[in-house]
Symmetry: C2
């Protein structure tokens, strides 16, 4: 459905886009014997960008592997209030920039007799590039970064992350910043979410805080995300698969549609093509307009099926 929305945007702005579909996840594991088949990896490799749906319990073997394999180091998670949802507070607009390749997600885990150990890995290089990413994004936004870690308890690993982030801050004098421990950040996201513009953090904290922030703005129904590398990027809704409504045509497509809008924005920068940026903006504003008109699935209190939301969105795009 997000595909036809992008297709429609392409028609409107006169560019072409080719979609190819590949299998991944629980159903691929069951039917093909592998959660992430080689064909899918090759498919991602040969594309300009990828968009991924929920995959189920095999998430680690799919998304964590793809992030590592293609070095998709920047996980962007906007948490923004959209019409028709019930947020804790209006006017929240946060961009979480989560380091996406290291920390405990590196996957170094060992079993010992009666115990297990995992390695939390933090490198200067990865800390620097994600901090650069966050400060550059802040320049396009409200010019403020909150650096989140727990260096009081982990002075070496989180300390390194914080130190490098502050070095990067000093080379972006137009952007102000503050540092916050992760526990304090989990409170501040509820107490004072409007005080956040860009939130820069490490992988595990980003996983937890981005879901929390999504709930602050009304839940995962509207939560898109991007996994961005040097040459390739992969976009996905934050929500998982909802087995209880699968196949009923009731899935809320907005998070995927907004992920597609992020994809168009990224592609416009990657290709230097302003038509794609216009397409991205159109998709997002069509989503806002459609939501204002109540074009929504039952989880948002609407009466539309997934495919009807798609048709509604396309109609709004043509109109706008």
């Amino acid at each position: 459905m997000a595909i036809s929305v992008v297709q429609r945007a392409a028609d409107i702005f006169g560019f072409s886009v080719e979609f190819r579909g590949y299998r991944a996840g629980d159903s691929a594991l069951a039917e093909l014997g592998e959660a992430l088949p080689e064909e899918t990896i090759q498919g991602v490799r040969s594309s300009d960008a990828a968009i991924k749906g929920p995959v189920g319990e095999t998430a680690k073997d799919v998304i964590v592997r793809l992030r590592q394999m293609f070095d998709l180091y920047a996980n962007l998670r906007p948490a923004k209030v959209y019409p028709g949802v019930r947020p804790l507070m209006d006017g929240v607009d946060i961009l979480i920039v989560r380091e996406n390749t290291e920390d405990l997600y590196k996957g170094y885990e060992f079993e010992l007799p009666g115990s297990a150990v995992a390695l939390k890995v933090v490198t200067e290089r990865a800390s620097r590039r994600i901090a650069e990413y966050a400060f550059r994004e802040a320049e396009r936004r409200r010019k403020h970064v909150t650096i989140v870690h727990k260096s009081n308890v982990m002075p070496k690993t989180d300390g390194l992350f914080g130190r490098v982030a502050k070095e990067v801050a000093s080379s972006h004098p137009g952007v102000s910043y503050r540092e916050m421990y992760v526990d304090a950040a989990s409170m501040a996201l509820i107490r004072d979410p409007r005080s956040f513009d860009v939130l820069l953090t490490m992988n595990v904290y980003g996983d937890i805080l981005s879901d929390e922030a999504a709930q602050v703005v009304g839940g995962l129904g509207m939560a898109p995300s991007a996994n961005i590398g040097e040459k390739m990027a992969l976009f996905e809704p934050v929500h998982g698969s909802a087995p209880d409504i699968a196949g009923k045509g009731l899935a809320n497509p907005y998070a995927t549609v907004l992920s597609a809008a992020m994809m168009l924005d990224w592609l416009s920068q990657a290709k230097g093509d302003p038509r794609l940026e216009k397409a991205s903006k159109l998709v997002e504003s069509a989503a806002v307009t459609a939501l204002r008109r109540g074009i929504a699935t039952p989880d948002l209190g609407g009466k539309y099926k997934t495919s009807e939301v798609g048709k509604g969105l396309e109609a709004v795009m043509v109109e706008l």
Copy 2:
């Protein structure tokens, strides 16, 4: 101030309690050269229980060290709605049971050229005793445990924790349970906090989720905590020191008073003395009554100074 409240409770129920004071934290570091002087360690060792105030930036060298040193393995963090605060939702009453001795708090951190590594350690023994603690507490409450981890990404460490917790669950058939990934839990605490009774989790997740839960019920002003070991226990407010109001007599004492109530409850079990349990209940109900009457510091919208709240509480205790 919490001291005179406990003293008053002792007078009322006819038991005796002796308090000794020891230095720790930023000011001890500045004045004595050590954040946790040997004398303080000995003082804690020779007591039945300890109560600790906020210590500042040296927290790791004080509280994390004391937790390890005395093997205070169970960190209890109630998140309960009290009168006079503004919670996200009424009727929330959660007990977070946080493993308090291992995970990344073990302190095994290493610097390498351009990087750093920390070890996340999970043992079967520590997982089992904290799970036992949580299920026993659930038996005294609403008989439900939510087990929180991230075994989809860390199958060995978090997997061990989850597996042991489920083994323990099977030996407590009167308590029902569910499992939740930590990111989902950070959402559920906002969306549906009343669905939680006991929340059992690992050290790092417990740090983050307990602050989040405290904010859900109105902030840290009312957040007590307990660090419990086999023979000794240490109680502390969750909030830190507030340098901006230090010395002005405006600090909100309720979190410390409620920590003292937890201490009396624990001591009553440790000593098998029902008078202490009555004292604990009296201190807590006096706090509730005082809050209903608006006996509160400015952070809670009241006009009372710290010492006046203390006097008000004591008066209510005598009255009840």
